[in-house]
Amino acid sequence: MSISQRQLALLLIAPGLALVAALFLYPLSFSLISAFTGPKGGVSLDAFRKAWELYSGDVLFTVVIVLASCSFTGLAAIIIAGTLTLGENRWIVGTLKALYRWPLFIPFIVAAQCMRTFLAKNGLMNNSFVAMGLMEPLQAVSFLDWRGIIATFVWKQTPFVALLLAGALAAIDRATLEAGRNLGASRLRVLVELALPQVMPQLLVALVLSFVTMLSVLSVPMMVAGSQPTLLTVDMAFRINAYGDYATANALGVITYLLSAGAAIIYLKRGMAKESAS
């Protein structure tokens, strides 16, 4: 053979790497440079100053919305995966199993359109509550604001987190769980004290991935909520489409990188603490 296996391997992988370099690494460095360059050239924090002046409220709003969505998603996923693993009524477990995965591959933009109609003042949700006599027609309010964004994110991301969590729970040693049950612990206690600590890494991975996904979604905040306050993704699109203001948009972009880096670091720190402990 004229070339070594190592060279062949690099040759085979090179085209794929080139695409990632051209369409991710290059624009990423472009955005970093643009964010840190002043109007007259040279390194400056002007873009960040302007971004903070105009959008500090939205930065906070984004953090709160995304964290709240992740918390609710985690909670819902724990309840679903816990029921699937420890549930004793076969009929309930079977129904839940058939139901919970439906939104898994539904695109965010479709989820947004669903919620736009469902959560509206005269949407199916309020109408059903009125029809069931749970609510007076005059009490109906629209949920198409921050609550709508959270509801859409949780609706869309819960199946993904629950799927990973249920997989992890199915793989742990059943004997410890059975032992806990035999000693008289309730199923809730077995789930919280015995099962969950063993699958924390998988739960955290799923939530970190969901966190980054939510920071990337443009369609949901545009379609589900009004204009102010809104998520940073909408602000970036607005800076570009209305003003062609790349510096401020990229400064906001760097802020979203930092937010997702923060989530990743929390995860890595936990992983390292665990490794040094064991």
Partner: protein
Amino acid sequence: MMPLASSLRTALAVVLLAAFAFVLIGPLANLALWSVAERWYTPYKLPVTYGTRYWQQVFRPSGDAMASLGTSVWIAVLTVVVALALSIPAGYALARLKLPARALFMVVFLLPQAFPSVAIYINVARVFYQLGINGTVFAVVLVHAAHGLVYSVWIAAAAFGAVDKDLELAARNIGASPLLTFFSVTLPLAAPGIVASGIFVFLESLDEFTGTFFVGVPQVTTLPLLLYNAAMGGNYQVASITALILLVPSVLFMLFIERFLRADVLAKVGA
């Protein structure tokens, strides 16, 4: 156990399950209702008149929706071709060959999915604009392929990794060249996993909104962009019908993915 307490618990579980089903199915049901509502306004809890007028409007051969559907499918097919052309060699190298810094390369393919993407896309659009390819199908395909590459590369690597090495050695022993072995043994055995990754990339491309929003406008209108324009324009019927068209492949894929992606391949994804 007391029978009363136990039946109370079951009743509570059934109520909770019904509430869960309502939350899960309700938004989809509302979408379906809007798609067949010809008139629906405020005091009425259900559509005033039902009909398929908007379906006919959407599926008219000359309508915007058919053109968008055609654009979407064409872009998705090209994206699959590009992604597989890049990921089959890359996946084979990652699974079978001695590659320095293998873990690093695996992470590089994940990066486009691991960063908030809006800031990346605005700069891709800027670069494409300077190159004069913004608003072309080619540009959209490149963006979709880069985004889908993590799935196709990781799944291809897992599929090649799950092929029994002894079968390849057997082929080599009876005199097959490495290339013939790859095409007659390794690739056919890895094919189900690679098909699954292709379907994954196809769906990702079909559903992609953000990248197309920045790179494709105004010339390239895919179904998600049509849905967005219809929804923001207040045409709930067309938006809902477009959403339903996008919903069908997603739900089918959710129901059938386990047939394509065998457990032994799935367990190796990302490893």
